[in-house]
Symmetry: C2
Subunit: 232 residues, 2 copies
Amino acid sequence: MTGILYGVGVGPGDPDLLTISAIRCIELSSVIAYPCLEGTPSFARSIVSDYIKESQEEIAIAIPMLQEPEPAQQAYDRAAQTLLERLQKGKNVAVLCEGDPFFYGSFQYLFFRLAKQCPIKVVPGVSSLMSCSASLSRPLSARNDVLSILPAPLPDADLKACLQVADTAAIIKIGRHFSRIRELLGIMNLKQESYYIERSTLPNEKIQVLDNVNPEEVPYFSMILVQRRGKI
Amino acid sequence: MTGILYGVGVGPGDPDLLTISAIRCIELSSVIAYPCLEGTPSFARSIVSDYIKESQEEIAIAIPMLQEPEPAQQAYDRAAQTLLERLQKGKNVAVLCEGDPFFYGSFQYLFFRLAKQCPIKVVPGVSSLMSCSASLSRPLSARNDVLSILPAPLPDADLKACLQVADTAAIIKIGRHFSRIRELLGIMNLKQESYYIERSTLPNEKIQVLDNVNPEEVPYFSMILVQRRGKI
């Protein structure tokens, strides 16, 4: 009997935004795996640390911080093999994933590698998309609004084409792309309708107007909400 | 001392997808309010029914089922007044909202009416966007994918313009628009990459290929996930 692989969405950071289902899947697993950037603690693990028991085996999946994708993909190849060994012994494995596993989530890399080899249950989580909107006190979308999620690393031309057809856009994964994005929003006359937030729901959450943001300090976990039209 | 108005995201339907924070805000409130379509039970209430106590006052906000928006807006005007009376007596009020309050959520109608009159805390919830993706075993987005959420009532031309620039699109609020959407996806050669799901995470959840769907039976709580490109 193969164990179950759980892809567990652990939400944006506040442990109170864990779901009952996420906590249960962690409790049902004898192995807890989570990604971390090489040499740093795992953010996903920190969210659920109160629920991990000493009797559970922990597997940190260290992802190299490099521009080229191959070393990260090789790390996932090795991790899939490691988890498969546990699963084939009948152990349940919970893989922790910030936010939601299928919304730009790292769990997908394991999902595609293991989908044919074991039963998989994905536990959806509260996404930072929603928690950023709540923290900003600015709704994402209502009625027949078009809402688009745009990764900041995309070229300006792609971002522009998408911004032109959306009522609201959430620009994610900002990090070192901040200055370019702020300039683009300025050119498109959208800067007054744009709201910046980083580390939503964490104790060091920060909300700023775009012109006050220091581009050198923008983390990966940041978002700009762009609201093109008056709402409701 | 004015009470706190909580906008509580209660997730897509499965009570196990409630967050700890949602349950806590319900417990902290002496008044529980929820929308319902006139003459029908409240879906949002059904999700949290295990957590509502007899000592709590319940206020059902009956929304008329009409094409024109005015009667619904008047119902929200009256509801805002009713809740404000409780809040001004120092009572906390939890307004239940399917999915997430700020993602096409009905809570927004109360939020805009009461934002200046009481403290408001929005509790983000698991969205059906994420639970549909989990149920379909099909990721929404990875890496630099553009993900767009498109309400089905939009005109074909708008939908087409948005579908052309997105990697993945989630078409929501389908209901009586199903036939038109299926035809549009056929014309755009996207039908083979489209996946239909209704009532995600509920006991009567249903997944079908588009050609097998009976347009007469498509509920409001349904989604078509369109994946334009091979992923990962």
